[in-house]
Amino acid sequence: MADSELTGLTLAEAQAGLGTRAFSATELTEAYLDAIEAAKTLNSFIVVTAGRARAMAAQADQRIADGNARPLEGIPIGIKDLFCTEGVNSQAASHILDGFKPHYESTVTANLWAAGAVMLGKLNMDEFAMGSSTETSYYGPTINPWRAEGSGAKLVPGGSSGGSATAVAARLCAGATATDTGGSIRQPAAFTGTVGIKPTYGRCSRWGVIAFASSLDQAGPVARTVRDAAILLRSMAGHDAKDTTSANRSVPDYAMSVDKGVQGLKIGIPREYRIDDMPPEIDALWRDGQAWLKDAGAEFVDISLPHTKYALPAYYIVAPAEASSNLARYDGVRYGLRAEGSDVTSMYENSRAAGFGQEVKRRILIGTYVLSAGYYDAYYLRAQKVRTLIKRDFEQAFAAGVDVILTPVTPSAAFEIGAKTKASPIEMYLNDIFTVPANMAGLPGISVPAGTDGRGLPLGLQLIGPAFDEETLFAAGQVIEKAAGTLTPRRWW
């Protein structure tokens, strides 16, 4: 098979082809390594682990030949730079982690390797996952493989998992790991026409994932189809004694739920997500989604989540507060960058000044401020109380019989590189207005491509479910995917 045919296969199709020996894991891996080499201009991979990929593929071929194939045997995937990978640079796309090569493997990636997946390399992201465009990376922005019709302008892939979303959309890997603290899986998935799921908080272990905001961070996959996302999540998820917030529950075979359908499902439409300046094409997309799900047998009900508009302001207290604490460890002593100083304090201050980018500094300072003496109650405590109310809104909707909630993912399609970096930081933050509430409540959310805007750019719909009901998200997501079709960017790179 030609390279482009191999990389054109979905993860599920690649599994089938490997199973029937239509091609080998080595051939599949080489096809992806060639595709990565040819797509350098997109800047999605910041480390390519070609040697390791070839060795893992050879081992996979051996296991397939021996009849010992594991669930993801020979499937080449990319890893967001936020995951610690043993012996491979893991730098959260930050200058301050220069040269950091962990002596341990994150639980999620260890699970994937134990399932037979092949590691292609590390994927670009916003520095420490702080951003919505992958423009805050120390390694420069990732370029969206999508371009508006008739335009050569470079667009952002969203963020923070922009490298993951780009690599999947551009067929540079069969699937990718990502993380989502306020929308960092779902928003880039929407901007690139890929599927991304943020599982329930606690579903995937956070151990070995470089921490941003520990009560919000959750790992999940970005994939080409709903089925591929379901297959990947099953191998990523699971209880881990090394993460005290990891849920001790069995992991379902998510692929089994993909074709379950939505007959009789009650889907909530939250009125608070109809924001004032909602672009008509987002509204139309939302209506299309309702029509498709209705045709498939779902019932719709209008619901109210009254504290929705407070989710983003509360997030911008809670997330920076936790970040200021988590990022205190980067001090020029234990790993990464050190800038000299006249004494130990100035060494800390100079290392952190040189190593952190503007957005990270901004969030550390906000976090330090809201936690400082005299302000804790006014900001942090109040935000945590508001968080209780946000979560209660969802709980009441689900208790009233709603199975899943349908919303847009983003208020717009992908924007141009540089378009939002000069304005107020709030303008960038508003990208996450529809995704942040699920993080604040710890709930699972999936982003599924649902159509394009007037310029031919992908848009996504989000489904939010009750805790640990990822299965319903896959079932409903599949109905949207079936109606909307999958989206593939035209190759220009």
């Binding site: 329930t200 009560s215 000044a353 400082s372 930081p425």
Partner: protein, 95 residues
Amino acid sequence: MPVDTATVKRVARLARIAVSDEEAETLRGSLNEILGFVEHLNEVNVEGIEPMNSVLPMPMKKRRDEVTEGFRADDIVANAPVHDDGFFVVPKVVE
């Protein structure tokens, strides 16, 4: 309540990040925009509401207080910018 440049510098000192006067001025602007944005939370009545302490209801996991992974000093210092004989090296702290 907006912050002034002196407050930005004090907070930067607490966060151990060196900032120039020019940087402090830029940060003051963006921090005030963010603080202005989060002011909306004051509209919410939080009387009698418990703060969220645990995202999902689950008892805190406990384990025996014993060494699970030890004797890995070489691994631990391997990524340090400066280390010597299993120790991290920092500028002199006590004269």
